[in-house]
Symmetry: C2
Subunit: 136 residues, 2 copies
């Protein structure tokens, strides 16, 4: 892995929340949460994580890079599947510990490793006091 690129350290609350400098609040695991939606439909596609390197590469290339927690490696989304995500817009939340990517998906337009377009293909319902999942 490359040396981690430097983002400025988070400042006081007022700067963090109202400022114009990106100062991501990486957790103790070095990651921020990233929510990725389809830029056209608004559909929630996936929730993933970025370390500083993934965030820097996403900003540099305009394509989504994540940190794969399961594989423990930098992950250029779509590098093998063709499902490259071109970033149309990136937003950050109030306390700068979460990012929102609006993307256009290349290849077959899929996102989930199960083959679905979105990772959120099951609805949670309550039935007889128990939480059950319904596909679709």
């Amino acid at each position: 892995m490359c040396a981690s690129p430097a983002f400025p350290s988070p400042g006081p609350k007022a700067e963090l929340e109202e400022g114009t400098v990106l100062t991501p609040r990486f957790g103790s695991d070095g990651l921020v949460t990233c929510v990725t939606t389809d830029a056209e439909t608004g559909e929630l596609l996936m929730v993933a994580h970025m370390n500083a390197e993934a965030l820097a590469r996403t900003l540099e290339t305009g394509e989504a890079w994540y940190w794969s927690r399961s594989r423990g490696e930098l992950w250029h989304k779509g590098a093998t599947s063709g499902q490259v995500q071109t970033v149309v817009e990136m937003r950050v939340d109030c306390d700068q510990d979460a990012l929102w990517l609006k993307v256009r998906v290349a290849g077959d337009g899929g996102c989930c490793h199960t083959g679905r377009r979105s990772c959120f293909y099951r609805r949670v319902a309550v039935q007889d006091g128990k939480a059950v999942l319904r596909h679709g």
Copy 2:
């Protein structure tokens, strides 16, 4: 805090991804990520976290409960602000470590503690090779 309610333990990958039982994969901190969007407009409102108790109360009451990491306590969203979130739909992702709530917001319709409707009120732009934030 009440005793943590039991959700079944995650099973093998096939059950986790294709099954019909909610078996949340809480992290080592006991939390899953929760993405909350406006049920009507689809706008991303906030990213927060739930422990088992918050998830159980959300399922029981139909209103969003989170775990506040900053305050270290269970958080009934809107209990003090009036910005209660009624859950219209809950979805779960492939590996069951992230939830998606589609909500209707009561009170003044706001969500962010800064007073905005959404926590994602700044766009990340690249200017002269540096990441800057633009409001709006």
